[in-house]
């Protein structure tokens, strides 16, 4: 049986002789294949968007749907890979095995098996990735998520993954031994206690493999770099299912104040703890398979604290009230957790989070030292003094409620205020309040009927849920940076820039936007109730006005509807925890993120593809490169039907038509004029780029033509260490363009698709290089980034590299964006020379905004006089 790679390779051989010359293949054939790649990649992206859309909770889908989608995406990508190898003369066969291995992982996810990345036994909290939930266990994963939320800090931590656990079991031959014991338990009726004792002894007597020992100690040193030997750690179990869907809360052992010398032995203790009798009983009852048992172990630096305690986001005794509880004591939190005398605060769940009631205990003792958990006497004057002031208490509640918004259930949170006054989150787990799984009651519906609805059935729900807070209209960078936690974000466009404030929002509403756009993806990632495309939210809703957003029934109510919020938090069944949603989330993590961003980055290889989106991007970029490489020199291109563009701006640009990009009646001549371009995106770009004022703004004071010819002639320039042969080429289709420009020692790529179907539209823009020193080039990059971000691009970059993307925009928006990109290319061409200090970034930003009539919201009026295209 031939494997997939061999089968496809033999297919390829039939078309192109193995390693042979491809002289018989016409350019036209290559373009047809390239066109097919574009189509296939687009189909794949649409399928991905369709899957992502389902994460918002608005749809009913089943497992079959997930299976169908996965196999359909795989099929389309394989076809694209096949065409890709046609173009590259089978030089990219490795992509097949990459696709195959990704597909295999998806199949495992679909089958509900744990997919644990191999070779990663110890991970810093910051190195955990979305796909690793099962590898690091729920406790560590939750803390990793909390760490990504704004204004929530987590002490330095690392985790020994389930990979480490398996390694430990294998090294000590424990798999078989544990299995035998379990068999005996089932057959001979051994008591659970004796099974538990036996297993725990075996684990405690084992040895940690030397490489794992080394990794753990290194990681422990790293999180306490100052003086590891006198540092202390908390070592906690982080099992799969623990603190997550299934609650094993309190069943597994955790150790606090562990000195460095006990870092290794406590690892074994936590592993052994997984097999304590309560825990075994629990697993037997719930039929959690023993073969798939796994335990990750979380190590956290013990942070000295002024005050510490616990927060319940809901009062378990009176969950109907809008109240949180805080317990606090001086020093370390141990006294509070163990129920010693401390202060209790009843706090309002509503901003500004006031103290409703406080009971100040007489705090005679506090724990001050990790070493021997030494208790110290509290100074007389502090004993009866509240250990939290109103501001600190409000800050803790605000942070706790933000975490609750993400987890969508009442939480029990351990916190501390460190010596610098920052709130640290040590642990968060679900508060054991039974959820009723109730639909909205008749009473609630009556209440809602009598509330004033400001908007009803406007727009599309992108993420289901309910959120409430003051409206914050966001129209520029400043209002984003100062976005208050818990507010309702209201914006005109659903642009990627909003992603910064979304995690802090209680709900999001936009006038214009798509549920498959980037912003909606971010909202789903942070589980923020979101309604897009309402048309008029920015007009209807007033800044500061209190509202409740019901993104289940698509209504925005005036004021805070506590009954609805309460129902949502305590009674509503969570769709997020349904098995199929979890599988969908896991599948998407291996499909949707784009990690291969920079085509010049070292990981831009077939092996570097971590997701299907990466594969799509890789194939696209490498196909273009291959096409241009085949062309090699302008003469080859011209000989194969390339045309030179005759325009006022002497760009020396060669146009290649892959179908519908140029007027059919251009004849056999070697030149075309801009009017003969029929490619929609190229026309839009050229309307900006071809206007002569685009190239003659302030910076270029010297003779225009002289400068242009000097910098646009074919040349070899070194940009970012790469030798570029000067070739300005545009590959054009009716709805597609790929432009590669090498002017003025910088290198620009614009890849765009523009048509009536919004989901297929996209722009990719990349800019790098320049002739000046790196600091000036970086200023120019910073300028480009701030302009592109302002007009609605998702922007990334470092040094002198800028990468900007736009997806899911309608045809008018794409036209606008391309026009502005065209203007921008001209505007910044030699600007780096003049960017002598950092203030020039703002200066030229304003100049560009003004010259192009761009207003505060990023909107602009097209200004297209003097364009040769017109």
């Amino acid at each position: 049986m031939l494997n997939l790679v061999d089968r496809l390779a033999s297919l390829c051989k039939k078309i192109i002789p193995w390693g042979g010359e491809r002289s018989s293949i016409s350019f036209n054939d290559l373009f047809v294949r390239f066109h097919q790649i574009l189509e296939e990649n687009n189909t794949a992206m649409e399928l991905i968007a369709e899957m992502e859309d389902k994460l918002g909770g608005q749809y009913v889908f089943d497992k079959k749907f997930l299976e169908d989608m996965v196999s359909e995406i795989e099929r389309v990508i394989l076809r694209s890979a096949y065409n890709f190898n046609f173009i590259t003369n089978n030089k990219e066969l490795e992509i097949y095995s990459v696709i195959e291995s990704l597909a295999r992982k998806l199949q495992q996810e679909l089958a509900g098996k744990l997919v644990i990345p191999s070779g990663q036994n110890v991970l810093a909290l910051g190195d955990i990735q979305e796909v690793m939930e099962e590898a690091v266990g729920n406790k560590a994963y939750n803390l990793f998520k909390i760490d990504t939320l704004p204004q929530a800090s987590v002490p330095s931590s690392f985790v020994v993954t389930i990979g480490g656990f398996r390694k430990y079991l294998a090294f000590n031959n424990l798999y078989d031994k544990i299995d035998n014991l379990m068999q005996e338990y089932r057959k001979n009726g051994l008591s659970v206690e004796s099974v538990s004792n036996n297993i725990r002894l075996m684990i405690l007597n084992g040895d940690i493999p030397s490489d794992l020992r080394h990794e753990i100690l290194k990681a422990a040193e790293k999180i306490c770099p100052k003086n590891p030997e006198s540092s202390f750690y908390s070592v906690r179990s982080s099992g799969v299912g623990e603190d997550g869907m299934m609650s094993y809360a309190g069943l597994h052992d955790s150790f606090l104040n562990v000195p460095f010398r006990e870092v290794l032995s406590s690892y074994k203790k936590v592993l052994a703890g997984m097999y304590n009798s309560a825990s075994l009983e629990y697993r037997i009852q719930r039929q959690v398979p023993f073969t798939d048992m796994g335990m990750a172990v979380l190590y956290q630096q013990m942070v000295p604290s002024q005050v510490a305690g616990v927060a319940y986001t809901v009062d378990p005794n009176s969950p109907d009230e809008q109240v949180c509880l805080l317990g606090a004591n001086w020093g370390l939190g141990k006294v509070v957790v163990e129920g010693g005398a401390s202060d209790m605060f009843r706090m309002s769940r509503n901003p500004p989070y006031e103290i409703l009631e406080s009971r100040i205990g007489e705090k005679k003792w506090m724990v001050v030292s990790f070493e021997n958990e030494e208790s110290a006497k509290v100074d007389e004057e502090k004993r009866n003094m509240p250990c939290l002031d109103a501001k600190q208490a409000a800050l803790i509640v605000e942070t706790a409620l933000m975490i609750e918004r993400y987890f969508k259930r009442p939480l029990d949170i351990e916190w501390s205020i460190d010596t610098e006054g920052c709130v640290q989150i040590l642990q968060a787990r679900p508060l054991g309040i039974a959820r009723g799984g109730q639909p909205r009651s008749q009473e609630l519906k009556e209440i809602l009927k009598h509330r004033k609805a400001l908007m009803r059935d406007k727009g599309i729900i992108a993420y289901r849920g309910v959120g409430s807070g003051p409206v914050c209209l966001v129209d520029d960078k400043k209002s984003l940076e100062n976005f208050p936690s818990g507010a309702v974000l209201v914006a005109r466009f659903g642009i990627p820039l909003l992603a910064r404030a979304i995690p802090r929002a209680s709900a999001v509403i936009t006038d214009i936007g798509s549920p498959t756009g980037h912003m909606a993806t971010v909202a789903r990632e942070f589980r923020i109730p979101t309604i897009v495309d309402t048309g008029s939210a920015t007009e209807v809703l007033q800044n500061g006005q209190e509202v409740t957003v019901d993104a289940e029934r698509n209504v925005v109510y005036e004021g805070r509807v506590n009954e609805l919020l309460h129902h949502q938090l305590l009674e509503r069944p969570l769709f997020e925890t349904l098995y199929e949603f979890q599988i969908l989330r896991r599948l998407l993590r291996r499909i949707a993120p784009l990690t291969l961003i920079d085509p010049d980055g070292p990981n831009f290889t077939a092996r570097g593809c971590q997701t299907f989106h990466d594969v799509i991007r890789f194939i696209h970029e490498k196909s273009i490169q291959a096409l241009l490489q085949i062309a090699e020199a302008p003469s080859t291109l011209l000989a194969h039907g390339g045309k030179r563009l005759k325009a006022k701006v002497p760009l020396n640009l060669i146009l290649i038509d892959i179908g519908g990009g140029l007027d059919e009646n251009i004849g056999k001549g070697g030149w075309v004029v801009p009017d003969q371009i029929t490619s929609l995106p190229m026309k839009a770009l050229w309307s900006g780029m071809g206007s002569d004022d685009a190239w003659s703004t302030d910076p270029i004071v010297a003779d225009f033509k002289g400068l242009m010819s000097g910098v646009t002639r074919t040349q070899t320039a070194t940009v970012a260490g790469q030798v570029l042969t000067g070739l300005n080429v545009a590959v054009l289709g009716a709805n597609y363009m790929n432009l590669t420009l090498r002017v003025g020692y910088h290198f620009t790529v614009v890849d765009a698709r523009m048509g009536l179907e919004l989901e297929k539209n996209s722009i990719f823009f990349r800019f790098v290089g320049g002739a000046t020193d790196i600091s000036r080039r970086s200023r120019r990059a910073a300028l480009l980034m701030s302009i592109l971000e302002k007009i609605g691009f998702k922007v990334e970059g470092s040094g002198d590299l800028v990468i900007a993307r736009v997806t899911n925009s309608n045809i008018d928006q794409i036209e606008d964006h391309l026009y502005l990109i065209g203007r921008l290319i001209g505007f910044v061409r030699q600007l780096d020379i003049f960017m002598t200090d950092d203030t020039t970034v703002d200066l030229y930003f304003e100049k560009f905004m003004e010259a192009n009539n761009i207003n505060a919201t990023g909107d602009h009026k097209m200004k297209r006089s003097n364009s040769d295209g017109k």
């Binding site: 889908f61 089943d62 497992k63 799984g437 909205r440 008749q442 199929e580």
Partner: protein
């Protein structure tokens, strides 16, 4: 609310009933869910529902067979077919056999809610 309309949901994938039940209960219906056709058939021999929502492709008696059983036992009820294999053929056939509506999986919650509302009006008119 003395006479709530009743709905029977049959789909072999439990997520469908799990998601529809609270949603439809919120709209004031009384909902029962089944994940195998045998127990659903057993139930309709005891009790007729106003509205049936059934998957088309299932192990054992499939949606088409279940539709026939409903037509026999509860001729006045409305049946909404749901399926992931949305083809015109299967839709047409279910209509010929007396289905009231047809919805392709995956579907939006508001789609099924409005289909149920329409079906309820028809049942009430009878």
């Amino acid at each position: 609310m003395a006479n709530k309309s009743t709905i029977c949901i049959l789909d072999d994938e439990p997520i469908v009933g799990d998601r529809l039940k609270p949603e439809l209960e919120e709209d004031g219906y009384e909902v029962e869910i089944f994940t195998d056709s045998a127990s659903a058939i057993q139930r309709i021999e005891e009790k007729c529902f106003d509205i049936f929502i059934t998957d088309l492709k299932m192990e054992g008696v499939d949606g088409m067979g279940f539709l026939e059983k409903v037509k026999e036992n509860c001729p006045g009820s409305a049946v909404i077919m749901i399926t992931g294999y949305a083809t015109i053929e299967s839709a047409r056939e279910s209509f010929i056999r007396g289905a009231y509506d047809f919805i392709a999986k995956p579907f939006r919650l508001d789609e099924i809610r409005s289909a149920v509302k329409k079906a309820q009006k028809r049942v009430k008119r009878q």
